[in-house]
Amino acid sequence: MNISYRWLQELVPGLQLSPEQVAERLAMLGAPVDEVVPVGAQLGDIVIGRVIEARRHPNADRLSLCVVDAGASEPLQVVCGAPNVTAGAFYPFAPVGATLPDGMVIRKAKIRGEVSQGMLCSARELNLGREHDGILELHGEFETGRRFIDAVGLDDARLVVDITPNRPDLLSHVGVAREIAADTGLEMRLSDLPDAPALQPPVLLGDGSPESAADGVTIRIEDTRLCPRYIGLVIRGVKVGPSPEWLASRLRAAGLRPISNVVDATNWVLHELGQPLHAFDLQRLGDQVVVRRARTGESIVTLDDVERKLTGDMLVIADADRPVAVAGVMGGADTEVQHDTRDILLECALFDAAAVRGARRALNLSTDASYRFERGIDTDSMETAVVRAAQLILATAGGTPGEGAVAGPGLPSPEPVRLRLARVARVLGEHFDAATVERHLRPLGFDAAAAGDDAVVVNVPAHRRHDVAREEDLIEEIARRHGYDNFSDELRPFRPGTVPTHPLFLLEDRLRRMLVARGFLEAHTAAFAPAPDGDVALLLPLAATESRLRRALLPGLLRRCEYNFARGARSIRLFELGTVFGPPANDAGLPVEETRLAVAVTGLRRPAHWTEPDAEFDIWDLKALMRELGAALGLGVEEHAGNELLDDGLSFRLVSDDNGEVRGRGGRVRPGVVDAPAWAGDIWAVEIRLDAVPQPTVRYRPLPTQPAVERDLALLVPDAVPAAAVAAAISSAAGSLLEEVAAFDVYSGPGVADGVRSIAYRLRFRAGDRTLTDDEVDELVNRVLQRLLNEMGVRQRA
């Protein structure tokens, strides 16, 4: 919402605050100001000029040679290229030496052989609009040479106010003025209009029935739910033309473009009172106004010259046989006020918010009017709005007002709201007595009266009925008026909550710490995925690549690897903790969600250093990583056949120690899955479903007091026998005195037969209560060797 500071000053006489101070106060009242734009600040050099004489430039058909009175003793010769320059008219004039808003400095020049001593300006050159159809003609009488911004009242500031959706009353100068007046202790009142004749308010006729008539025009509402009230006022004999400068400048200061006196009058009232009005050309409209739903197949050409198809759920204003406006959205081009319009019908109506929203959406046509109807207008100021618009039109366009017709029952007044003072204190933490409550509420238009010692009864004014309906709403008003910053912020004791921290957070913390310490970078992405990577579809996706919700993390993470390959990275180590989605499996229709961890890694095991040869991350690094992750999650690592993503023979799975459930997989990503450059290395990946598991418990074991005995065994193991099976057999055969068995070397080649490899195991024996003898250990080793030979054909290497 654009607010003109001068307009605000007129509505709040005695206002001493600067535009910046007003902005500061509005922010603290809940309507922050995005910017304060000085209007006319760059126009200080521009003066009023009058063209005394304009004739064709002797050497150029499209140029005029003008004699301009700019207040100096001698008239100036000025060359002008605008088609609309007219002798006798007033224009903004930039004399030699003046600076324009774009920084251009006007110099004395010779144009096609004729001296030019200044420039007549267009609205665009003055930053007053985008019109570039000629220089800006000023309407009215002016003193030549006077500063332009003083002469037309453009010495103003525009406040761009951010209005929350609950406060449609602030979509008007009066609404903002009411807040500022209440805040500063001043009175808000409508200003007298310049040039306005003393006008008896027109008589408004109506008895609440859906039909009414005045001045030869009948008004009929077919659906009083969608249109509870329609006021029409006829004005005959207007003379349509440009608005006087005081009106045009005011609209420009508020960021609007002046059009004609009649249309500008309705825009003035819209921005002053927040009341959308429309003016029809009565000759083109006829003598009937019907508020009804559109009929199938009807269409209308709206003011923006677009033909729009209407549907049966849209409310329209129609004459005897066709729609002439989309109710609350935009008027039709056929009945638009034009330069030759003589009689008009002014409309001020109340339309249902949902109906206007529906039409606005269907037509994709948002207007100042639809914006306000959707949020709610002030039903008590409709008559005022019609009268004020009529006054403006009579003042600027002449004419004779007729009687007004009011159709429709209007809206019933709501019940007063009872405000308990104890409740106010319970919510706000500070006590307010009835007198203070009244003092806070009355300046905003609330009618508040104490009801006993402990309550105040409040009648809500029409302009606040859209956001104030219950006790809580009034409590907020009291807090706002008291000033949020004036409440204490002293910390008081609190009771601890009953909700324990969700265990998945603790697990995520642990995994994140572990992976960051191991040199991984955390990726954090939204759950969107292209169709092949998701089962749950969005109804209205933004892009085809984001049309589903991911069913797994890895495909997205591998795309992120490609992204980094494309930027020249060869060693990439990423992980992500995130949510994946599966098809709904319950009545609520919600997708099944899982929290998962994914890791993708490629390139060097460690950053290159000249002290050692470069080594690639390999299957053993992956296995180590998976073992660590598994340990944190209570999962064991098993060999695994691979899948569509992971290579056969280079994959593992993570299996629950508790129930054998498979929770994750990891391995080498199959070639071709990732679009990797030729210089990229193998890509390794892991994905794990996270379930909250208790943090592994640690139990102390007594430190050994007896020495250990170690024996190394080089074993010839057939290729078909896994090393882990050999280790397991060793453990089983050796019994409880074997403390640890570990493979430490693997060899195949000369000296070892085909189909067999040599694996060296180190066995460490220890007894808790005595020193083992060599004989004891030899016997155990022999038992192991015997078992290995018998059970798996493994013999000791000679």
């Binding site: 919510v427 204490s488 969700h502 994140r512 990726a523 969107f528 990275a569 950053p607």
Partner: protein
Amino acid sequence: MTDTTDLDRQLDALEAEGLAAIEAAATAAELDAARIRLLGRKEGRLTSIMRGLGGLSPEARPAAGAKANRVKQVLSEALDAREADLSMEGPGDGARTDLSLPARRDWAGAQHPVTRVIDEICTVLARLGFTRARGPEAETDWYNFTALNTPLDHPAADMHDTFYLAPGVLLRSHTSPVQIRTMQSHQPPIRIVAPGMVYRRDPFDASHAPGFDQLEGLAVDEGITFVDLKATLAEFARGMFGEDARVRFRPSYFPFTEPSAEVDVSCLICGGGGCSACKGTGWIEIMGAGMVHPSVFEHAGYDPERYTGFAFGMGPGRIAMLRYGIPDIRLLYDTDIRFLQQFSDLP
């Protein structure tokens, strides 16, 4: 006749100069040269000094010989020690090691800036009694809108603003549904903070992403007031942004709180003096907050006459952008490792 004192002096000089030369040897080759020069059997200085032994009187010879042997031993030991030093210091060719070369490194890992900010926020709030709660990212419109006092014809519920998965099922547009779910499953007192991904139908640009992070706080008990809200968030701001951080509460509007407030914190960049980050105001908007609306309690099954509470929400991504000077939200979600590495604690 050789003078005893002269020989003594020669041996002393040999010891001192020899030790200096050994220490100065920077390479194995230099050390070898020093060894030959000092102790070489044919031309070494000790050999030539020893030759002078024959010129001493027989009585003087044993003492001088003993001294020569001691010097030889000292120099030999120094040569061996230096040799060992040199072989430890350098690889291969015996060049002296340039210690300005880079250290051996491991890959530097890093937490994502947004989860890092979330952790910081949750840590500060933990001191104020808030525990972490979570809820589903796909929600029903009841949890996302209706229960939060937002009618389904509200613009935010529009198909063009919120991602729907099916009629009535959507991607949550804020973390606030966690408020309702938590109140349904637990009894007061409630003190939770709920971080998580939320989704809005905004195409990517420098300040919008269709999926981004939000963080919600909720405190419910008997006797909680607007004063507690202000106190808690002021304390939070000091814990999060430093002891000098000030907060400012401005009236605002959210359907699920009343009174509602926007919370500004004194600018993180200029401290309140006014800069481009705060558009010259000295304040940066970081949170929305308010007293829980009675209708929210009604939907969650709490008695609004008995319980009051406050809620607040903020964008960790926005705070990360402010804190680290990140100009474009897309950097947060692109997963460019050159970006992520900047958040490593390692050099």
